[in-house]
């Protein structure tokens, strides 16, 4: 959460408000698409010829920033150190800048792909699923290599990693292969040919890059996602927050929301009743969904509306 980065957060809002008031570029498609709020250089562009620009877009869609930056403590970009509280203990995210010792600067392309696809470090150790590779495993090879190109274009930080504070048996890394055997469905995720491209894109953005289910789907006692309750909500979400049902159940979920309602929510955080999302979803909107193209937000909405309603 960005709570204690007052000056920076405030400056950003102020700048964004000024930029929008000044009337930056606007593409009003169906009177809906609003201009994206400030993007970080290099400009993220999913259709660029430059792998770094494409990777910047993957980075936004996959929401890597918040978990790997200690915004609260004024930490360096992607230098890790953010404390992530879970029912299994506290994780301290690692440095993922291209620093050769403290970051991932020495990782080859194959090493990088393996971390996401198989949840393994270059030395073969299994990674904790607090790094949501259970979702990222579905990423395409191209998106992974673009993402690596983007990360390696950023400045290296020499911040050392901090060990996690986990409760046994969850702190036992050697048990992770069992977890992986139970829960990891190795990707990449293949398109469903019976569905239109927009739906497939939506599923990829929701279930793979956006890892929405990591918060919105309840977990088993071993911390695996309960796939039968896809998007049914989770009373005990990250940092003790209640995460709502976002399946199309008209009463308990977002069945009453129109496609346009969902698009507007993902862009500016506004719900149909005029309330605004906060907490970790606010962070998802700021860092991730507000930076997507209007077509991608629509694909997410179309996919969410197609899911089976959950009680």
């Amino acid at each position: 959460m960005r709570a204690a980065a007052p000056a920076a957060a405030r400056a950003t809002v102020r700048a964004a408000v000024r930029a929008t008031l000044a009337g930056a570029v606007i593409a009003v498609a169906g009177a809906m698409a609003l201009p994206a709020a400030g993007q970080d250089p290099p400009a993220a562009d999913p259709s660029s010829d430059d792998p770094v620009a494409r990777g910047a877009y993957v980075f936004a869609a996959a929401g890597c920033l918040g978990c790997h930056t200690d915004v609260k403590g004024g930490g360096t970009l992607l230098a890790g150190g953010r404390a992530l509280e879970t029912p299994f203990g506290t994780f301290h995210s690692p440095n993922i800048t291209p620093h050769p010792q403290h970051g991932i600067g020495a990782w080859s392309e194959a090493d990088f792909v393996r971390a996401f696809r198989d949840g393994r470090r270059p030395d073969g150790d299994a990674l904790f699923p607090a790094f949501p590779y259970g979702s990222y495993t579905g990423m395409t090879e191209r998106d992974l290599l673009d993402l690596r190109a983007y990360l390696f274009s950023l400045p290296a930080a020499d911040t050392p990693n901090r060990p996690h504070d986990l409760d046994p048996p969850f702190g036992w890394r050697f048990l992770l292969p069992v977890w992986q055997w139970l829960y990891l469905e190795r990707g990449p995720l293949a398109d469903d040919p019976s569905q239109p491209p927009e739906w497939n894109r939506g599923r990829y953005l929701v279930d793979v890059l956006g890892h929405c289910g990591e918060c919105h789907t309840p977990r088993s006692r071993l911390g695996g996602l309960d796939r039968d309750a896809h998007m049914a909500g989770n009373r005990a979400g990250p940092e003790g927050e209640a995460v709502p049902n976002i399946s199309p159940n008209p009463e308990r979920g977002i069945g009453a929301w129109s496609i346009g309602d969902i698009e507007l929510f993902l862009e500016i955080g506004m719900m149909p009743d005029g309330d605004f999302a906060g907490g970790s979803m606010g962070e998802v909107i700021t860092n991730s969904t507000s930076k997507l193209t209007a077509e991608d937000r629509r694909a997410i909405a179309v996919y969410l509306k197609s899911l089976p309603p959950q009680p």
Binding site: P35, P272, F276, G278, I285
Partner: protein, 155 residues
């Protein structure tokens, strides 16, 4: 005597430098949480109408003008009245995080950002132009969303 005067002067300078005073303790915390929720609902109602206009779902430009007026009115309420000390999570059904008071200058700043944004919304509503209203709505929404992201925990 002289020391006292100097101390008093120093204190006055400190207060002036802080630029803003921390909110006073709530007299009736439960009632004040309710009051805050009523104010917030008014903001929400306003934004709902604006969103309806932008999405072309019924509300008219006149509705947007009324909504902008309501938001402007709420934005002029002193933030110390909206967020008195002692009304954080734990009091009634408050969803306000304790961080709101620990970072008071930031929180107060967000609140004060509402008014200029609401004035732009009023101007846009006068034009009746959907794109202009959409832009102004986004600017107001950014203020709401940022404060909720930092200082509200949905329960």
């Amino acid at each position: 005597m002289r020391t006292l005067t100097i101390l008093a002067a120093a204190a006055a300078v400190c207060i002036a430098h802080a630029g803003s005073m921390a909110p006073a303790l709530a007299a009736d915390p439960l009632a004040q949480v309710k009051e805050r929720e009523t104010l917030m609902k008014k903001l929400g109602g306003g934004m709902k109408a604006v969103g309806g206009f932008v999405k072309n779902e019924g509300p008219t430009a006149a509705d947007v003008q009324a909504a902008a007026a309501a938001i402007t009115e709420v934005s002029t309420v002193d933030p110390r009245t909206v967020f008195p000390e002692g009304t954080a999570i734990g009091v009634g059904d408050s969803e306000a995080k304790p961080e709101l008071w620990q970072n008071w200058t930031t929180a107060e700043g967000y609140w004060n950002d509402l008014k200029p944004a609401a004035e732009q919304l009023t101007a846009a509503a006068g034009s009746g132009d959907r794109a202009q209203v959409a832009r102004a709505m986004q600017a107001v929404g950014k203020v709401c969303q940022t404060c909720h992201e930092d200082f509200r925990l949905k329960k």
